[in-house]
Amino acid sequence: MAGADTARRFVTALTTLQGAQTLPGPSWLQQARADGIARFGAGGLPTPRREAWKYTSLAPLLGTTFSAPQAPSADRPLARDLRGLVQAYHPATDDPTVLTFVNGHHQADHSHIGRLPDKVVVGALRSAAVTHAAALRPHLGAIATFGDDSHAFVALNTGFLDDGAVVLVPDGVVVPYPINVLHVTTRPTTPTAIHPRTLVVLGRGSQARVVERFASLGQGAYLCNAVTEADVGPGAVLQHTKLQNDSERAYHLSTLAIRQRRDSSVTCHLTSIGAALARNETTVMLNEPGASVRLDGLYLARGTQHVDNQLSVEHVAGSCTSDQLYKGVLDGKASAVFNGRVHVRKDAQRTDAHQANRNLLLSTQASINTKPQLEIFANDVKCSHGATIGQLDIDALFYLRARGVPLEEARAILTLAFASDVLERETDGHYRTFAELLLTTWLAQATAPGVLA
């Protein structure tokens, strides 16, 4: 088969051209990379024949040769643009902690460590792998695993594991300010592939808030294959916010893997707006009783964008709760996927799991494939899921238009209202304002006249 050959060549090119062997690091890291490369090489690129990739074709990637990213040049215009971007994304006030990565590499010039409690480690993975190896090793690669073929891109990321953010919070420490991680890809001359890896480890009873943002300078074509791992200790509280605003020509494939201990609490908030092809995977392991997780997401797509949201919540232990709310707004010829899976294991009694996916189709050519799944092997559970797909309420539009609101504005008001209950679940006021602004801008740019015109 020609298709399989192309895919094999692509995999070989991706794994050899970039020279994972030449990356620096201690020997245990070298070994992890070798395992990742071997697994990705053996499993190859997932095809739509695989259930988890049923609605997302990676064929557009095949025609592209991705090379290793160049180190960002130290020229002044870039530095100025970067500074602008960092400022645009972060509040100028209250001394924020920002770790900036350009093309996957930590940029000390554009990073800033603000006020932090003692013993909290926030830094780049490349240096932490040497200085804090003992703290990293039990977690790195142990939460985002790739034992089977279903996580090919985690394997690929591990193959090129080099740099990223590390957040280590010791027992009982509460970090009162958000820790911001900004991944910027500059407009490359040839398509590049970057593989950032973030690791968050929260000790017993600690609290932290991590905000990851993915953005680009210019509309370049690149592959951003990010993996974030979080180990949340007993009674710890993690708030994770992710903004995916990559270039509209980019491929964004990311995995967020979370492992929760007893009575821990995690809130994840996703805003996915950029990239030609975006896939946001979230896997949560509720390993001990009393853990709770909330997964909120808002995805916007237009033009020919494709956004794929894969959620998997594994109720390993009993008495845990999970709650998913994902909402999508699709315009133009955009397509989206929601695949939410809740798996309640045999002994996970008293599980409380809820899942909702709501979609708004704004144009005649947009499409959505949604699959909320429940797999339940315990009997004392309360589980529910719901999915809806629809358009703007004609009566509501009429109401607004009858009061002199132009059609486009009326559509924007109603769409914002649709999206707002996800945004309102975000507790960080600054981020919420920022996301609302993004959404409003996005709506103002919507060009499709719409089916209801």
């Binding site: 704004l362 494939n369 949604t370 089916v451």
Partner: protein, 480 residues
């Protein structure tokens, strides 16, 4: 006081319909190849086009592999170890019911369908399929006067080849899936219904299927056509004798409703589910699909699945005509080691098409119950509407309930809603009933019947009564 599991009397109900009738069977040796397919066709005296069709299906089948995507687990089936034809020896042409093999008659007595009384009492015409060949058909004349054809599939091939040729494989092509292809190659017999334009069939048409001779998988083929403005309600009920080895059943049902035509298809499936250790039982791998070919057509599937070791079926509707309607109402019960992977597909092609899916799954013992459904709305299907509800009830901590709904929507004017819940029987509900002097077992039946009520009310009356009894029997000893 909260009722405990040990409050409950654990009753073991033997399979009531487990018996084997000893009649001389004309059975092919096990194995399948093109010769066997041709031999089946020759044996049935089929025209060349049908033989060709079977052979094409056989060749498609050889290129396919058994599906592995569902959540059911079973040892691989040796398709060469199955005998593909078994018929009671034809004695002579039958003039009346009295000439039916007395042993066959006795079997029907045990099943509770005394043929001679059927006419007088029930007003239900019964086409009794006994081990692949129809032995008796009643009420034929009454239906004939209205122009309704209700006969065995073989007879339809002989008497109405033009109808069979026009519609056979038009909904489920011979290469549709592994088991449908197998059925297309080796189907033995089945039922055929044609209701002409504007005719409303005055009675519920009913068929009792029965698997009898050892080692014969049964490959039924049913084709029902409702012409323009016609209406028919069809009942299918199944029982099978107790067996230790697994028996394969791979049926195909095709429904075609033309403009303004309506078909209501109801099933109560009570095949041998295997014993309480999961030994034996029927593998029920069925392809059922209907097509609303014309505008304003309607197809409604109602099923109560309590039997079989494994149930694998997805009664589907292709909503091709504008304003056509598809419905699916299902109750699936799995107890002991039973597995059910069932659901529906609603393919919306026409404008303003509507579909409703109500699925109720009950798992007990080690039973595994999956709902797997697809709602696909294509760009042309403007104004399409779907509502799906899938609820699961869990009894006992070793069973499982799973939901895999696929919603694929390509039209912004579509309105699609899906909701599902999973829970166990409320302890407060049980307590309330127990407090009022209702035995736990009865209380559970009451709650379960309430859970299934929206589906049962879609069943024709006789079936609804049977279904409630079946449910109670299926869940005996399973309550926790």
């Amino acid at each position: 006081m909260t009722p405990q599991a040990n409050d409950l009397e654990v009753l073991q109900q033997d399979y009531k319909y487990g018996f084997v009738t000893d009649i001389v069977s004309d059975t092919f040796p096990p194995g399948l190849n093109e010769e066997v397919v041709r031999a089946i066709s020759a044996k049935k005296g089929e025209p060349p086009w049908l033989t060709q069709w079977r052979v094409r299906a056989y060749h498609s089948w050889t290129k396919m592999a058994p599906p592995t995507w569902s959540s059911v687990h079973h040892p691989p089936i040796d398709f060469q170890a199955i005998s593909y034809y078994s018929a009671p020896k034809p004695k002579k042409k039958l003039d009346s019911l009295d000439q039916v093999d007395p042993e066959v008659r006795a079997t029907f007595e045990k099943l509770g369908i005394p043929l001679e009384e059927q006419k007088a009492l029930s007003g239900v015409a019964v086409d009794a399929v006994f081990d692949s060949v129809s032995v008796a058909t009643t009420y034929k004349k009454k239906l004939g006067d209205l122009g309704i054809i209700f006969c065995s599939f073989s007879e339809a091939v002989r008497e109405h080849p033009e109808l069979v040729r026009a519609y056979l494989g038009s909904v489920v092509p011979h290469s549709d899936n592994f088991y449908a292809a197998l059925n297309s190659a080796v189907f033995s017999d089945g039922s055929f219904v044609y209701v002409p334009k504007g005719v409303r069939c005055p009675m519920e048409l009913s068929t009792y299927f029965r698997i009898n001779a050892s080692n014969t998988g049964q490959f039924e083929r049913t084709l029902i056509i409702a012409d323009e403005g016609a209406y028919v309600s069809y009942l299918e009920g199944c029982t099978a004798p107790m067996r230790d080895e697994n028996q394969l059943h791979a049926a195909v049902v095709e429904l075609v409703a033309l403009a303004n035509g309506q078909i209501k298809y109801s099933t109560v499936q009570n095949w041998y589910p295997g014993d309480k250790n999961g030994k034996g039982g029927i593998f029920n791998f069925v392809t059922k699909r209907g097509k609303c070919a014309g505008d304003h057509a309607k197809i409604s599937w109602t099923q109560v699945e309590t039997g079989s070791a494994i149930t694998w079926k997805y009664p589907s509707v292709i909503l091709q005509g504008d304003h056509s309607v598809g419905e699916f109402y299902s109750v699936a019960v799995t107890n002991n080691y039973q597995q059910a992977d069932t659901g529906t597909k609603m393919i919306h092609l026409g404008r303003n098409t509507r579909s409703t899916i109500i699925s109720k799954g009950i798992s007990a013992g080690h039973g595994q119950n999956s709902y797997r459904g697809l709602v696909r709305i294509l760009p042309r299907a403007t104004g399409a509407r779907n509502f799906s509800q899938c609820d699961s009830l869990l009894m006992g901590d070793l069973c499982g309930a799973h939901t895999f709904p696929y919603l694929e929507v390509k039209s912004p004017t579509a309105q699609v809603e899906h909701e599902a819940t999973t829970s166990k029987i409320g302890e407060d509900q049980l307590f309330y009933l127990r407090q009022r002097g209702i035995a736990t077992e009865d209380a559970v039946n009451l709650i379960v019947n309430g859970f299934c009520k929206t589906v049962f009310k879609e069943l024709p009356m006789e079936f609804a009564v049977e279904a409630q009894k079946l449910l109670a029997v299926s869940l005996e000893g399973a309550v926790g």
